[in-house]
């Protein structure tokens, strides 16, 4: 079974450009989260999506946006890139289980290998 896949693996951009990063979750996983990891720090939560809707957003500017597609894959877009956006961008997928009308995302997250973004 394939794990979480992300593309591209590496990317170099210049300030002011925009970038689109892609993520495919594990088959059967309907929740996708995005994290930014700067060198020497832990990952920082950017977004969570499930059932194609944004369910959570971290403390990131509006230059960051994301969406989830009907097949549960996801894109992260960053506009007007700054030098400080250079980081490893991680995508994580999780299962969702339902109890009655309530959907709960399981806590265990499966991370992809990340996209290394360098902004010059």
């Amino acid at each position: 079974d394939a794990g979480v896949t992300q593309s591209p693996t590496h990317l170099i951009k210049t300030r002011g450009q925009h970038v689109t990063l892609r993520c495919s979750p594990i088959s059967g996983h309907k929740s996708v989260s995005w994290y930014q990891q700067v060198l020497g720090q832990g990952p920082q939560f950017i977004f969570q999506y499930y059932e194609k809707e944004e369910r959570g957003r971290g403390n990131f500017p509006d230059r960051f946006s994301a969406r989830q597609f009907p097949n549960y894959s996801s894109e992260l877009n960053v506009n007007a890139l700054l030098l400080g956006d250079s980081a490893l961008y991680l995508c994580a997928s999780s299962l969702i289980w339902t109890s009655g009308r309530r959907s709960v995302v399981t806590n265990e997250q499966f991370f992809g290998p990340g996209t290394r973004l360098t902004v010059l």
Binding site: G42, S94, P113
Partner: protein
């Protein structure tokens, strides 16, 4: 302010010994505490989850404790091996339907033969 603190210095231990890593947090009330392993250039890999009403959890050579009064978790690797060398991240998560993780900065563990 809200903080998660892990040993910032690398932990160097001899093969066969027990490694103990610490995670302290302030001004959070997590429902769960998780530990992940991260190798250089790779994404984190889930190891263990412990709930707020659990004191201890074990999985093979791994053991996690969770003290909500002290706001601390300890992560132990017994009979450590050079292959255990990696960065270990603790992460808090909360009840409420979605599973946003708040990570510490991680502790780098080096196990020497």
């Amino acid at each position: 302010s809200q903080k998660i603190e892990q040993n910032s210095e690398a932990l160097n231990i001899q093969e066969g010994k027990t490694a103990t890593l610490t995670c302290n947090y302030t001004n959070y009330s997590p429902a769960y505490l998780q530990w992940y392993r991260q190798d250089p250039g790779r994404g984190p890999v889930f190891l263990l989850l412990i709930r707020e009403n659990e004191k201890e959890k074990r999985k093979e050579r791994l053991k996690v404790t969770f003290d909500t009064t002290l706001k601390q978790s300890l992560f132990h690797i017994t009979a450590s091996q050079p292959a255990d060398s990696a960065t270990y991240l603790c992460a808090l998560s909360f009840s409420g339907g979605y599973n946003k993780l708040i990570f510490g900065a991680g502790t780098r563990l080096a196990v020497h033969p």
